[in-house]
């Protein structure tokens, strides 16, 4: 539930186009059975055109489910997804659905499981082009595939090979080329780097950023690593057990994240300083300490910074963030002297 703040919305926010809007999304698996699970619990957010929205949280918090509902790979139990103004769940005719599938693509987490081992790389990449009839002749198709291979930093000679001949990082590049083949506007990146080496992760993240600048793509970037998400994202949403607990600008969340769960995620980021552990304690999130007496909702704290809390906690969070900013400013001033 998002508080109504229309009058407080900045002018900039009003002029930016929302390519994606998620309203009160809920997904319950095994409804009515003993193993009923609400994976996504009343989530609302939006993604502006051309930005990267990072969705972070631990395994099982429902972040991938959100990504899949957006792409209509799962049907939500309730709630709506609007893509470029159109309600995705209501698309009935084949032509419109096909057009949506072309415009919104996905890059999967596991580069080993998401590529068909019996298909050549060029066929994997060409599949979408064929399906959406984006190339008229075979020559045009081949040139498209080669262009895509070069774009993601693979060799044209790789086109006739099979997925098992590639390393994890290379496979993820194939997955990116596959997604880009149909010229999408929006890509759900579902933990595309979790299965990769740290040094390869950086290469893939840099590639995704370059492609975004070149092709004006919009990303929903799903991950559990806040330090990597912060690099990529204009805005970040933090999820915990199916709920969005904090939303805000990337820097704002990374430096002044205020919800105790966000703080626990931030404090778990390993540092390269061996003495870090001696001076920093990991924050452990205890949800039972949250106040339950009031209606909890995602409430505006400042600008576009929202925290999931009760009405009476808004002042507390506002103060907490101000204090964090004050402390950061003090260290900065000290360093400048």
């Amino acid at each position: 539930m998002v508080e109504k703040v229309t009058d407080m919305e900045s002018a900039a926010e009003r002029t930016r186009k929302k390519i994606l809007e998620v309203r009160r999304l809920r997904k319950t698996f095994n409804a009515g059975k003993s193993n009923e699970l609400t994976a996504v619990d009343d989530i609302s957010f939006h993604v502006y055109e051309g930005e990267t929205f990072g969705l972070v949280g631990e395994s099982g918090c429902g972040k991938s489910t959100v990504g899949r509902i957006i792409l209509r790979l799962y049907a939500p139990t309730s709630g709506d997804v609007f893509f470029a103004g159109e309600n995705v769940g209501q698309i009935k005719d084949k032509a419109n659905l096909s057009s949506f599938r072309r415009r919104a693509q996905i890059i999967f987490q596991d580069p080993y499981a998401s590529l068909d081992p019996r298909m050549k790389v060029k066929d994997i990449i060409a599949e979408g082009i064929k399906l959406h009839s984006l190339a008229q002749t075979k020559a045009e198709m081949d040139s498209r595939v080669n262009e895509l291979l070069a774009l993601v930093g693979l060799n044209v000679s790789h086109a006739n090979r099979y997925p098992h001949e590639f390393s994890g990082g290379q496979r993820q590049r194939i997955g990116i080329a596959r997604a880009l083949a149909v010229r999408p506007e929006f890509i759900v990146c579902d933990e595309p780097i979790s299965a990769l080496d740290v040094s390869i992760q950086a290469q893939v993240v840099n590639l995704l950023q370059e492609l975004q600048e070149e092709r004006k793509l919009t990303y929903l970037f799903i991950a559990h690593d806040l330090s990597m998400v912060k690099r990529l994202s204009d805005r970040i949403g933090v999820m915990y057990k199916g709920k969005l607990v904090e939303v805000g600008a990337g820097d704002e969340i990374y430096y002044y994240g205020a919800h105790p769960y966000t703080e626990s995620l931030l404090s778990a980021i390993p540092s390269a300083d061996p003495d870090y552990g001696k001076t920093h304690r990991r924050v452990i999130y205890r949800p039972e300490r949250d106040i339950k007496s009031e209606a909890l909702a995602l409430r505006q704290i400042s600008g576009d910074h929202y925290v999931y809390c009760g009405e009476g906690d808004v002042g507390y969070y506002r103060e907490k963030i101000e204090l964090k900013k004050g402390a950061a400013k003090k260290t900065l001033d000290r360093e400048n002297i």
């Binding site: 631990e58 395994s59 099982g60 390393s167 994890g168 080496d197 740290v198 040094s199 390869i200 992760q201 950086a202 290469q203 993240v205 840099n206 950023q209 559990h224 690593d225 806040l226 330090s227 990597m228 912060k230 690099r231 820097d251 990374y254 626990s264 995620l265 778990a268 980021i269 390993p270 540092s271 390269a272 300083d273 061996p274 003495d275 870090y276 552990g277 990991r282």
Partner: protein, 347 residues
């Protein structure tokens, strides 16, 4: 000083269709009682092959060309299968990377934890069960008594890794080898597992070899660090010497590529190029094609180890007498200042 485990000049290659892959090329290091040695490097640097050879778990096409692995003075590489069985699982335990595949899906976890105890020790099933229960409680499986009858698919990734740790610990080994035990886990669970490992190590005085590609994890857990590249150790030292006062350009590259460094810059630094093809590793320093600090001699001759401190060695010609002075990346210089400041404060 002789350590608990001493590896001397280990050289391992794999025969494949295209020729011989030189996976480990002359690795030597020592592990002392109760310490944690982290081995870091990219995929394919030979870190996993090195530790698998300690457990004698190499595939059939692997060949150990030379070297020795001494455990308390006894060479593991000269043991027969029966002697190996006594070491594996009993004196040296192993935690595997992927908790999803390391467990047997058809066996309940109580039996899996007990398995090596029943194999190695003369002990009744009842007693083994009691020990397994204690250990599962120690690694933080709640209601362990009930959970022992459950199967792996009924546990989350973090819980499965705790079970894998319990399996490695059951025979109270002197050494635990952990091969990227937290890579498949998310950050909060990773932090919990690292805390658990440190706690257990303190209690049981176990020595740990910890393989990872994440230097943040290294900072958290290691006493000493060995950096591997293309089948060789290129730098080894105490954790603060490697993370704050490193001398090898490859270590600099790994440090600069950490996402937490320069968090406000848009692009993350990446080491250019890819690791060499180990079918025919380059002559000289294997890192020179990717190294902007490379000297001419790097293309010709492999650098030996140069001593930085009594506990710190690096194999780079930059440390040779008369080598030109280079300016490392800014974050490395900042690390050095911190290192010096701490050394001054300690005095």
């Amino acid at each position: 000083m002789s350590g608990l485990l001493t590896i001397e000049n280990l050289d391992i290659s794999f025969s494949v269709f295209a020729g011989e892959v030189k996976a480990v090329r002359g690795v030597s290091f020592r592990l002392d009682k109760g310490e944690t040695l982290a081995i870091v490097g990219e995929s394919g640097s030979g870190k996993s092959v090195t530790v698998k050879s300690i457990m004698r778990l190499l595939p059939n096409n692997a060949k150990i060309n030379s070297g020795s692995i001494l455990l308390d003075g006894e060479d593991l590489l000269r043991q027969n299968e029966r002697e190996t069985l006594k070491v594996r699982g009993q004196r040296i335990g192993m935690i595997f990377q992927d908790p999803m595949t390391a467990l047997d899906p058809t066996m309940n976890i109580g039996d899996q934890v007990m398995e090596s105890l029943l194999l190695h020790k003369r002990i009744s099933r009842r007693e083994a069960g009691k020990k397994a229960l204690e250990l599962l409680e120690l690694v933080g499986i709640t209601t362990a008594g009930k959970r022992m009858r459950h199967f792996p698919h009924q546990f989350s990734g973090g819980q499965r890794q705790r079970i894998v740790i319990a399996i490695a610990l059951i025979c109270s080994p002197e050494i635990i080898i952990a091969d990227e035990p937290t890579t498949a886990l998310d950050v909060t669970v990773q932090a919990q597992i690292l805390e658990l490992l440190k706690e257990i190590q303190k209690q049981l005085a176990t020595a740990v070899i910890f393989i990872t590609h994440d230097l943040g994890v290294v900072a958290n857990i290691a006493d000493r660090v060995a950096v591997m590249y293309a089948g060789k150790i290129v730098e080894i030292g105490k954790v603060d010497e490697i993370l704050l006062n490193s001398r090898h350009p490859y270590t600099w590259g790994l440090l600069s590529a950490m996402p937490s460094h320069n968090a406000d810059e848009k692009r993350i630094y990446t080491i250019p190029g890819t690791p060499p093809d180990m079918l025919c590793p380059p002559q000289g320093d294997a890192f020179y094609p990717r190294n902007k600090y490379a000297l001419k001699i790097d293309t010709l001759r492999m650098p030996p180890f140069f001593q930085v401190s009594p506990t710190h060695q690096a194999a780079t010609w930059l440390l040779a007498p008369g080598a030109p002075e280079v300016t490392p990346p800014a974050e490395i210089i900042a690390g050095r200042e911190l290192f010096r400041e701490r050394a001054r404060n300690a005095r």
